[in-house]
Subunit: 553 residues, 2 copies
C-alpha cells in the first residue's frame, strides 16, 4: 500500500478549516492532514462584535478545532518559517516554545490577514481591534471599566472622555462593532445610577463618502439612519490623523476626546506571509486559477491571504479576483481540497469560480441590512436572516443548537456586565498631544517613564514652602523614579510641551528590573542622592529591602 | 428630615453583599449604603472549580454586584487605607488609579481572607490558586495548554510532566478542584489523539491524616474511594516542602514532576486587614458578639475576616467562634445589618448565634458527600442536594434559572476546550532545583535572566568547531543577553548547579527597557563586544534599529 501523502494546512479560519475537513473526507486513505493554528479554536469572526457586547458568550463564537476536525491532526503552534526547498514547516509550540520541524508533501497557506495600523501615528498603541476573541473580550472589559469609573467620577472632562466611544472604519466590522457597543452600553446603563443616557457619546468614522462602501447605496442609507437614531454620530468623508491616550484627531481638524477607540481599518498582510518571498500583490499571495502558487510545485493558498483570479485575464480590477470574505473562503476550501486530491491522483484540476450570494451587516437592536441574491432587505427580517445564515455556517448540529439556544436565553436575561480584567502590559508606548498631562500630584505611582520623542515638563509646587521646581525632559531622559523611593503618590505634574511619545514601565516590573542590574546601582545611588536627598528613603537596587525579597523566597 | 447616615461596606463577598442588601432594606430612609469591591461582581466561590473545568461558564459563577444590589451604590475601587479617626476610607479607582476619600458614619469590614503561600518556597511563584474567577480561568487555560502541548510532544519526560497535575490541600476547595480538573481532562481527552488515558497522573496532597478533615470520617473515606477510583492518587499525612517550575517536593522526600500545581492551602489575612492596627487573632479581626470591633465606635466586621464569638466565654477552641464559611457569612450579614440599624435607632442589638446546617463537598462526576442536619449522604443524591443548595444561594430568580438551565445544557454538550490565553507576565521569579535546565540549545529566545540565588552553569558546544565554552553565574550576574543580538535560538545549555532562583524578563519588555536607559548603552556596548564579537550583530540600546522604532511611531 502506497504511503499516504502529508498535507499541512496553516491557519484555522474559514479557508483552512473547510480545506482541511474536505481534504480528509475526499482524500481518505490517500492523505494525512494536519492543521496548524496558533489558537486551538476556530473563530466565527462575524460574531465577535456580539461577544464584545455580551450578546453571546465567547464560547458561542468559537468552536474548538479538535471538535470541528475530529479526524484531522490539530496542532496548536506558531509557524516561524517555511523552507520550500526541503518542504519543511518550522513551528514553535508549548509554553517554552520549542522549535519543531514538520515535513510536508503539499502545503496549504490559509493564514488570513494581519493588522497594520502603522500609517496612523498612535493607532497601534492606543486603538483596540476586533480581529479575534481576545480583542472582543478586551473591548467589553474596557467599555465596562469606563462605565464603572464614570459612575463614580464627578470631574466633567474626565467623565466625558470615559463616556465617549469611537469606532474607526465603517465596513461590516466597524458597523457591527459600533452597533453592538451601543447595545452593550444601552443595556448596562440602568445599573449605573450616576450616568445619564445623554452623557454617552458614540462616533462611527469612515473615510469613504458613505458607510458600508461595498453595499448598495440605499441599504447604506438605511443603515446610517438606524445608527443615527440609536445615538451614534456617523462621520463620513473623514479619516483619522493620529491617536493618543486621550482620543483621536480627525483629518478635518476635529479632536474627539475618548478613552475607547476601536480600529476596524488597517487590514494588511499576515506578518509571516510577508516573509515567505512569494509573489504578492495588494498584500496577498498570487495564485493561479487552481489556487496553486506559481513557481512552487507543492504550495497552495486560499482565503484572505490569497489573490485568486476569477477569470483567465485578471487585471487591476479587484472584481477580477475572489473577495476576502467568509463565503469565498469556504468555497475555496472545498475547491482547493478537490484540486489537491485530483493532483495526487493525476486527475484534472478545476479552476475556481464563484459568485457572491450577497452581503449582510448587523445593526444591533434586532435590525440588519442584507443584499441577498440581488434582493435588498432591511429591518428585523434581514436580522433574522443574518442570524440564520451564520447559524448555518456553524459546523455541526451541536454548535448550532447551543448558539441558537443561548441567543434565545440571552434575549431574556439581564446583560452580563461582569468585568474580567486582564493583566496590563508591563511596558507600553503612550502618545501624547501637546498640553496633555502625563500625571498630576496625588495620583498613585504606577510606573516609570522614559521620553522617546518630544519634550515633557515636570513642575513641583510644595504647598508648605512655596517652593517651585521645574525641569524639562527630552528624548533619552526619564522621570517618575519615585517608584524606587518608598512613596505612594506623585508630587509633581508632568505635561507634554509638544506632541510626544513616552515608554511607560509598570512599577512592579521596573523595580524587579532594576534589581537585575547591579550595574545600575551606582547610577541610581547617585541619582537618588541628588534627586531625593538620601538613600535611606530610597528603594534603590543596591538598597533593596532584602528582608522583603527573602520573605517570599 | 434628619440626614441619612452613610454606611460603607468594604468587600463584595457573601458577608458584604448580604449585609449591604439587608442594610438597605431594613434601613430605608435612615441610611445610604455604599459597597466597595475591587471587582464589579460577586463570586460564588464554591462554583469556581466548575468554572475551571468548563462545567459551567464564568458568567454562571458570578453575579454583577449592580444587579444584586440595585438600590445600593456600588463602587469598583481598591481600598488603600482607612482613617478611623476621621472616619474616612481612601480608595483608588479608575484606570489611572486616582485616590478618593470617602467619609462614613458606620463602616463594615467584609474583606475576607488573602492567600499566604510564603511558608513554602516557590509556591507563591509557581502554584496556581483557586480564590477568584481569574484563577479558575487561568487553571483551565493552563490545563488545556498542557494537553495541547502534550498531544504533539514525543519526549517522554516532558510529556509526563505536562500530563501530571497536582492539587495541594484536601479541604473542600482542594477536593472539588481535583475532582473538576479530573473531569475536565477526562472530557477533553478524546479530542487529543496522541494522549492515552493512562498517561494522565493526578495527585491530591493533604497534610492531615485524612482528606476533608472537618467532615465525618466515613464521608471522608467514601470521598477518598471515589477520587481514587476516578484516577486521582490521594496522598495524606504529607506536606509540600518546595515548588519549582518543574514540580513539587514533598515532605517525605518524594518529588512529583508536574507543570500544574494548584495550591488550595495558605489562607491568611487579607493584606489590607493586616495594616489596620485592629486587634487580631488567628489572622482575623476580633469582634464582640454583636460584630462590633471593640475600641472602635463605628466599625463592624463579619465574614472570613472576622473572629466572632458564639458564646460569652470564648477561649482558644475554634468552635467557640463562627466558622469561615458562606453559611455563616450570610447569617452574619443579616444579623449585622439588623444591629447597625438598631444602633442608629437607639434600640437593642442582638448577639450573633448560629449553628451550622452542615457541609457539602462535590466530587465531580455527579457525586458528592454531604453532612446535613446530622444526616450523612453520599453519591448522586448528595450531589443533587449540593447543586440545589448552591442554586438556592444565588440571589434572584433570574440567576437561578440561568445557571440551572446552563447546567442542563452543559450536561449534553461537548466540553468547552477553548483555550483563551492571557498575556504572560513581563517579569517573573522562577525557582529551580539542582540539576534543572533553564534552557537548551535550539529553544526560542524568550527573555533574559538574572541570578537572585544559587549558581547556574552555561555550556556552549559548537558542533562545527569542537569549541567548548563554560561559565558559572552567581547572584547579581545575568545571562541570556542574546535577546539583544539579532538571533532567534539559544546556542547554549544552562543548568542549575544548586537549588536557586532566577528573575526572568520577557524579551519584548527587556528590549524596551534597555532602550529606556541610555546609561546602559556603554555597559552593553562593551558586554556585547566581548561576548559576541561586535556591535553590528547587536540589537543593543545604542544601536537600536531606529527604522524599526520609527516604523510604528
Amino acid at each position: 500500500m502506497a504511503k499516504k501523502k502529508k498535507i499541512i494546512v496553516i491557519g484555522g479560519g474559514f479557508g483552512g478549516v473547510f480545506a482541511a475537513k474536505t481534504l480528509e473526507e475526499r482524500g481518505r486513505g490517500l492523505v494525512d492532514v494536519e492543521l496548524i493554528n496558533n489558537n486551538n479554536y476556530f473563530v466565527f469572526q462575524p460574531l465577535l462584535p456580539e461577544v464584545a457586547s455580551s450578546n453571546i458568550s465567547a464560547s458561542d463564537a468559537v468552536v474548538p478545532l479538535r471538535q470541528l476536525l475530529t479526524k484531522v491532526q490539530v496542532r496548536q503552534a506558531r509557524v516561524m518559517g517555511i523552507d520550500f526547498k526541503t518542504k519543511t514547516v518550522i513551528v514553535m509550540q508549548g509554553a517554552r516554545m520549542t522549535p519543531v520541524e514538520l515535513k510536508y508533501d503539499e502545503l496549504v497557506i490559509a493564514l488570513g490577514t494581519g493588522v497594520d495600523l502603522a500609517r496612523i501615528p498612535g493607532m497601534a498603541d492606543h486603538a483596540l481591534t476586533m480581529k479575534d476573541l481576545t480583542d472582543a473580550h478586551m473591548l467589553r472589559t474596557h467599555a465596562i471599566g469606563c462605565l464603572e469609573t464614570a459612575d463614580v467620577t464627578t470631574e466633567t472632562p474626565v467623565k466625558d472622555q470615559l463616556l465617549s466611544f469611537v469606532v474607526v472604519g465603517a465596513g461590516f466590522s466597524g458597523v457591527e462593532t459600533a452597533a453592538e457597543l451601543r447595545e452593550l452600553i444601552r443595556n448596562a446603563l440602568p445599573y449605573y445610577h450616576n450616568i445619564k443616557p445623554e452623557e454617552i457619546r458614540m462616533y462611527l468614522i469612515e473615510y469613504a463618502p458613505r458607510i458600508l462602501p461595498t453595499f448598495p447605496a440605499e441599504l447604506a442609507e438605511y443603515a446610517t439612519k438606524q445608527l443615527s437614531k440609536s445615538g451614534i454620530e456617523v462621520l463620513t468623508g473623514v479619516g483619522t490623523e493620529s491617536a493618543t491616550a486621550t482620543g483621536v484627531a480627525l483629518t478635518n481638524g476635529r479632536i474627539i476626546n475618548s478613552s475607547t477607540v476601536v480600529a476596524t481599518i488597517g487590514n494588511g498582510p499576515h506578518p509571516l506571509v510577508q516573509t515567505l518571498g512569494l509573489d504578492m500583490h495588494w498584500g496577498r499571495i498570487r495564485t493561479d486559477r487552481f489556487m496553486q502558487v506559481p513557481g512552487q510545485e507543492h504550495v497552495w493558498a486560499l482565503g484572505d491571504a490569497a489573490l485568486i483570479p476569477l477569470n483567465d485575464n485578471p487585471g487591476e480590477d479587484p472584481a477580477d479576483y475572489a473577495t476576502q470574505t467568509a463565503q469565498f473562503a469556504v468555497r475555496e476550501g472545498y475547491q482547493l481540497a478537490g484540486n489537491v486530491v485530483a493532483k495526487l491522483k493525476g486527475e484534472e484540476l478545476k479552476p475556481f469560480a464563484y459568485k457572491s450570494k450577497g452581503s449582510l451587516a448587523s445593526l444591533g437592536m434586532s435590525k440588519a441590512v442584507a443584499d441577498v441574491y440581488g434582493i435588498k432587505l432591511s429591518g428585523m427580517f434581514a436580522w433574522l436572516l443574518w442570524r440564520g445564515f451564520y447559524l448555518s455556517f456553524l459546523p455541526g448540529f451541536v454548535a448550532k443548537f447551543r448558539v441558537g439556544l443561548n441567543w434565545m436565553i440571552n434575549a431574556i436575561m439581564p446583560p452580563n456586565i461582569v468585568q474580567l480584567r486582564m493583566r496590563p502590559p508591563a511596558t507600553r508606548y503612550i502618545h501624547f498631544w501637546r498640553g496633555d498631562k502625563v500625571f498630576e500630584p496625588g495620583m498613585l505611582i504606577d510606573g516609570f517613564y522614559t521620553v522617546i520623542k518630544g519634550s515633557f515638563k515636570l513642575t513641583i509646587d510644595n504647598p508648605d514652602t512655596d517652593e517651585h521646581f521645574e525641569k524639562v525632559f527630552g528624548p533619552g531622559e526619564h522621570f517618575g523614579e519615585r517608584v524606587l523611593v518608598k512613596s505612594e503618590l506623585r508630587t509633581g505634574l508632568v505635561q507634554a510641551l509638544e506632541d510626544g511619545l513616552l515608554l511607560f514601565i509598570a512599577q512592579k516590573d521596573f523595580t524587579r528590573f532594576a534589581t537585575a542590574f547591579p550595574t545600575l546601582d551606582a547610577y541610581f545611588k547617585d541619582y537618588i542622592e541628588e534627586t531625593f536627598g538620601g538613600p535611606d528613603k530610597a528603594f534603590a537596587p543596591g538598597n533593596i529591602d532584602q528582608s522583603e525579597l527573602e520573605k517570599t523566597h
